[in-house]
């Protein structure tokens, strides 16, 4: 399952469509507060999270997620990258930072083969 957090509905829907077309299941949310208890989730193969979210930031969520899912890669996406964000991401080897718009092929490379 791909866990997808982004507050932009259009983008989130389009990315989810791409993922589903590839045969992946997608759980998508507009903000971190909507995500159920992390330990109760189905097995996650990839987290795609936007940095700018209402409430808990993408980075905070990614850290929390990493604590329970240390082997799952994270793609952090952002519309506006700052040096601060890049520095923060650079300290976390489990996160790959991508600026919007993103290339779906890059996302696909991090996913397990289609089921």
């Amino acid at each position: 399952m791909v866990l997808l957090l982004d507050d932009d509905d259009d983008f989130r829907a389009a990315l989810a469509d791409n993922l589903r077309d590839d045969g992946h299941t997608v759980e998508q949310f507009g903000c971190a507060a909507d995500v159920p208890l992390l330990t109760s989730l189905e097995p996650v193969s990839l987290l795609i999270v936007d940095q700018q979210l209402e409430g808990e930031s993408g980075l905070e969520f990614a850290d929390r997620f990493h604590a329970t899912h240390p082997d799952v890669p994270v793609i952090m996406i952002t519309a506006y990258d700052s040096r601060h964000l890049r520095a923060e991401v650079a300290r976390r080897d489990f996160i790959m930072l991508r600026r919007k718009p993103i290339d779906y092929a890059e996302v696909a490379r991090l996913l397990p083969p289609r089921s």
Binding site: F11, N18, A79, Y80, K100, P101, Y104
Partner: protein, 531 residues
């Protein structure tokens, strides 16, 4: 008191013969005597006559007033009574010498000597002496004029003149006097100092040719000509050339000098050295302009950040949807594929162009705080050049890094400096049209120690005059945003450096970045820290 009758003394030798006088001659003599007495009594000059032994034989009322002696006090006394030492002694010696040799000291000339009044005061007087001989008798007649008042007046005048002179010399302004033909008559110490010329060396010369920068001759001629009119021109700032060829900026005002009868007699030129003042004003304007520019850029930065963010999301959604269409088309969801695949690819290409623009805006809006590191210039420049090597060779352009000895270590933000160099190299490559194109990156020592110059030059189309390429949104490229160089300038300024460009011969442009090797000082860093 009546002056002693001259006749009494002149006639003395005759009366000694005891010849009965001729009545008509006596009458004539009496008339002459009366006239003479009137003259002696009314003349304002002191008249003193002495005989061969220097005894006073005549002392008129004016002499009494001047010396303070009455006639009867001095008659028969030595004339040295009226002289302060050492004149008294010298006088006797002059008379003896004159009698012996005929060598006159005082006779027939007007001399200025000193007299002594009865009260002992010594005063200056003008002296003329005549000699009359009647047989063996000699009569020396002295006309004496008390010039102490005149002297005092002259001294007062001199004080006044000296004061005026000192004022002119001490004035912190140029005072220059020209004759009617505009030749130099005189000038004060101020001009002497500024021009490094001495009056003696240039007196009589044409002043424009001597002092004024050639380009300003016409302006100064107009200013001089207007001085005589009812509405003289306001002061003009023109260049003053000194003996060494240096130049100061002077604000001149001219006024016609007139003779007592009102005829124009020359020109008075007053000049004030405004070089430093103008430089200070220019510096202030420059600082204000820079502050305004910084504020403007900060505003634009904030707006840009917002736009980048707000555009980024819908753009990302569009892109994702287009990618979905394309992937579905290629997977065979649509038949035939071509009518869908082509437009989907076109949408993605257009989106990539939009993305490129947003990326540039993002660079501008980005937080630009410096993260200083020590950068080894050689590998740094190598990697910058390598990045663009592919594009350059694709376009047939020789992109080279000119080798230059061992390169120093530079303290700078390597990410930001790389962004600047990327921008310059990319611009240089894009500026070259037609072959053989060349882009050269090189290093030169800075203008002073501790600074270094990174140069990027091309043989491309060049930059049109008057275009400030460092100004935000100024660009020579049809599809350029005009952001890259504005950002470059900001980033280099934040490093305490400068960036400039110059035309390259025979064609092309040379951009040079000058940077302090040790990184920015506190102030230059503050400029961006505020952003």
């Amino acid at each position: 008191m009546r002056a002693a009758a001259l006749g009494d003394r002149l006639a003395a030798p005759m009366t000694m013969r005891r010849v009965p006088p001729d009545p008509s001659a006596v009458h004539d003599l009496q008339v002459a005597d009366a006239r003479w007495s009137a003259v002696l009594g009314t003349v304002r000059d002191a008249i003193v006559a002495i005989d061969r032994q220097s005894r006073i034989t005549l002392f008129n009322p004016a002499a009494e007033a001047v010396f303070g002696y009455s006639e009867h006090e001095v008659m028969g006394q030595s004339v040295t009574l009226l002289m302060p030492p050492p004149y008294g002694d010298e006088h006797d010696e002059y008379v003896r010498r004159y009698e012996a040799t005929g060598e006159a000291h005082a006779i027939g000339r007007i001399r200025t000597v000193q007299g002594r009044r009865k009260d002992g005061t010594v005063f200056p007087l003008e002296l003329s002496v005549s000699e009359s001989r009647l047989g063996d008798e000699v009569l020396y007649t002295a006309i004496l004029r008390d010039i102490s008042e005149r002297r005092a007046f002259e001294a007062a005048l001199r004080v006044e003149r000296d004061f005026a002179e000192r004022l002119i010399e001490a004035a912190p302004m140029i005072v220059l006097v020209l004759d009617r033909g505009h030749h130099i008559v005189r000038f004060n110490a101020c001009l002497e100092e500024l021009s490094e010329r001495r009056l003696a060396d240039v007196r009589g010369r044409n002043w424009l040719e001597t002092f004024i920068a050639e380009r300003d001759h016409a302006v100064m001629r107009a200013l001089c000509a207007s001085a005589a009119t009812t509405a003289p021109l306001k002061s003009h700032v023109v260049g003053l050339v000194d003996a060494a060829g240096g130049e100061r900026l002077i604000a001149w005002t001219c006024k016609v000098l007139s003779t007592a009868s009102g005829e124009p007699d020359g020109l008075l030129c007053i000049g004030e050295d405004v070089t430093n003042q103008l430089a200070a004003e220019r510096e202030l304007r420059e600082l204000q302009r820079a502050a305004q520019e910084r504020a403007r850029l900060a505003d634009i930065g904030a707006i840009t950040a917002k736009i980048v963010h707000d555009l980024g999301n819908p753009l990302a959604a569009l892109s994702m949807q287009a990618q979905l269409i394309l992937r579905r088309a290629r997977r065979g969801d649509f038949q035939p594929v071509a009518p869908v695949e082509g437009p989907a690819e076109q949408i993605l290409r257009t989106l990539r162009r939009l993305e490129g623009l947003i990326r540039e805006f993002n660079d501008f809006a980005r937080d630009q705080r410096l993260d200083l590191r020590s950068i080894a210039l050689q590998p740094f420049l190598n990697s910058c050049v390598e990045l663009w090597q592919a594009l350059a060779s694709e376009r047939g352009i020789a992109l080279t890094l000119a080798p230059r000895g061992p390169l120093p270590v530079l303290r700078a933000d390597d990410v930001l400096l790389r962004r600047v160099l990327d921008n310059l190299i990319k611009n240089a490559i894009e500026a070259v049209q037609g072959e053989p194109g060349e882009v050269i990156v090189s290093i030169a020592p800075g203008p002073n120690e501790g600074r270094i110059c990174i140069v990027v030059e091309d043989n491309g189309a060049g930059i049109p005059d008057g275009l400030d390429v460092f100004r935000l949104f100024e660009t020579t490229k049809a599809d350029g945003t005009g952001i890259g160089l504005a950002v470059a300038k900001q980033l280099i300024a934040a490093h305490g450096g400068t960036i400039a460009h110059a035309a390259r011969s025979p064609r092309g442009t040379r951009f040079s970045i000058e940077l302090p090797l040790d990184g920015p000082t506190k102030e230059s860093d503050d400029g961006l820290a505020a952003r």
